[in-house]
Symmetry: C2
Subunit: 389 residues, 2 copies
């Protein structure tokens, strides 16, 4: 069994969730649009699950739109809002360190007559609300800034951003995928109008996302058809995954505080251990405003890719850059935005812990990593240790 | 246990499919975009499943795009093709009896500068290829005609339509959801350029669809992000459902001939039994060019909705109109297109059989239906039996 420290890219579904889903594949398989008994059962379950998920983020039941995942929710939020509100304005603001999907959607909107401003972040990855405020114009219709960053784990001042948007009457979208299950989410308190959630990121099944849409916000639908989800997302509802996500929420509501404590302990051991044991290693991201499961480093003189492959040989799964762009070999846009040079960004290692990690996993990583780094540095023409000279 | 005769609106997942999916929720949960071991496993499985599904329709592996379902596949096909090929022409042809999603997507395209022609069908629901040919103009870029109709079960002359489109160099999309698993699909032989499939319609899990895209056809992506599915459909791949659909294909390849024979027997008993036992009952759709699992009737003097609810009281699940529009209470656009009057269309009953039906289900329906129809007619001001006068 290998050691898995890449929870940001994929999470195993919780066994209790898998069990809860089972009856909805074969026995209770109805389509909620059907008027017969099997359809009625599905409708009742759909309503209950929607309520459960709404409660998780302090929303109302009819503010929850089910989608096929976080990427679709981000597309629906940004494209749906922009195309619907074009006559109000054509300016959108995102941060420099948004998820790749937000960046690529922004490019699409730029090709379609919108202008996009990108707020920079400080060296720890935080958006400064004043800098956001400076970029708001009469034409601004949408601000999209994630709750926390999926790579370096920096948590944004979401409530302050929400207050600014509310004052200016601008819709505020937040991709909360990296944060869900790790920090409490509260759409009303934080003045969030649109929020993206993913089922898998709280140990639910893949293939289900949520877009929270505050009552009163208008969107164009992205996927057109039979008119499900109040006309905003057509296609028969994916009942087993909806039941699964509701169960995942239920589990999270009960055990999140204890789980977060455990993750923080692991994270802090990783950070302390790596920085102590490995010379010329640095922590990326914020020291305090940081997701409880994220430890992100850079090492002088080595390539993250080589590091990943060396650890793979030792049965340890890690990431360098986000999963979505991992095969492009481009340096992470997030790390570049922190002010790192390309070679610094390339030497990064992302460790994300999760529900099924054991202390042993942390020990194994801390035992293997220093040797791997030392060996790679020996082979590296880039690296010259000071004491070598 | 109730009798389920509404397989067109939802299908129970085959227990063998459910079993095949299990390891991919918790044990082999990797993201194919990850470069580590867990990610590599996922990539291997993804390639195998894609090949399996390609073989099912005689396509190549890299012609298979995974989506979240048939509705998304239809959106991706029509909107993606239209927006990409705008400068070649702005004319699209569909049939009058396409699935509601195709009709609503066509309306969206009309609002965005495209013109849409709708080929009429004959009284049995068949498109006449000559009438299609007459509607083709210099501006026609796309023809979208379903393989078979999801309500009345009429099978279209797909190959003839494909040949016409090929000759005229027009892209041919076919929604094959109602046909899959019931008639053989062969994209090359039938000259199909784009084809929509759904996992659930072959007893796979919900939440997964396929868009077959012939090499050389260009589409704009609908869902933008990390660039999965060759940039055409972003979002982490939904591995358990992909494994499930591949297993569903495997089962279908082995047992389709026998299953189709069984369904035909059930269908023919339903048709014979209903037409014999119930006066003033009529079969909708084609007698021969008909899906092997579809029996669709109309009864003079009664409402389909009342029929559905009366059968529901007796524990029998049926449909009247398609599942997607069943809650709107509008008469089915398909039945109206056959030339039926509104009151005739309203008096319809759709019975669709499937893999888990038993002979007993057919007997129960034939035992209960005549009494239910007679009782409703007694209560109906619309109905006057000839022998009452």
């Amino acid at each position: 069994m290998n050691v898995y420290l890449d929870y940001q890219s994929a999470k195993p579904v919780d066994p209790r969730v898998i069990e809860a889903m089972q009856p909805y594949f074969h026995e209770q398989f109805g389509n909620p649009s059907s008027l017969h008994m099997t359809g009625d059962q599905a409708t009742r379950v759909l309503n209950q699950c929607r309520q459960k998920i709404a409660d998780f983020i302090q929303a109302e039941r009819d503010e929850i739109i089910f989608t096929s995942g976080a990427t679709e929710s981000n597309n629906q939020a940004l494209i749906g809002l922009a195309l619907r509100n074009r006559e109000k304005g054509n300016h959108i603001i995102i941060s420099e360190i948004e998820h790749i999907s937000i960046h690529n959607i922004a490019k699409f909107l730029e090709r379609n007559g919108f202008t996009v401003s990108k707020v920079p972040v400080d060296q720890y990855g935080q958006v400064n609300p004043d800098k956001l405020q400076q970029r708001i114009t009469e034409k601004t219709i949408l601000v999209s800034i994630g709750h926390a960053n999926n790579e370096i784990g920096t948590i944004q001042p979401v409530r302050e951003i929400g207050e600014i948007c509310q004052q200016k009457n601008i819709v505020f979208h937040s991709d909360a995928v990296a944060a869900e299950g790790l920090i409490p989410l509260h759409v009303k308190r934080d003045h969030i109008d649109l929020m993206t959630l993913s089922s898998n990121d709280i140990y639910g099944p893949r293939g289900l996302g949520v877009l929270y849409k505050r009552k009163g916000v208008s969107l164009n639908p992205l996927i057109i058809g039979g008119g499900q989800e109040n006309g905003l997302r057509s296609g028969s509802e994916n009942m087993p995954t909806i039941v699964g996500m509701a169960k995942a929420v239920d589990i999270m509501q009960k055990q999140m505080p204890g789980e977060v404590e455990k993750l923080k302990k692991f994270r802090d051991r990783l950070i302390k251990g790596v920085l102590e044991k490995i010379p010329q290693s640095y922590l990326n991201g914020h020291q305090i405003k940081r997701l409880p499961n994220n430890a992100h480093f850079r090492f002088e003189g080595i390539e993250g890719e080589a590091l990943l492959l060396s650890l793979k040989d030792k049965g340890i799964d890690v990431a360098t850059g986000s999963a979505c762009s991992s095969k492009t070999l481009e340096p992470s846009h997030t790390l570049i935005s922190l002010g790192l040079l390309h070679e610094e960004a390339h030497g990064s290692l992302e460790l994300t812990c999760g529900r099924f990690n054991q202390e042993e996993d942390i020990k194994t990583l801390l035992k293997e990593l220093p040797g791997v780094v030392a060996k790679l540095r020996q082979l590296s023409p880039l690296y010259q240790q000071e004491d070598q000279s």
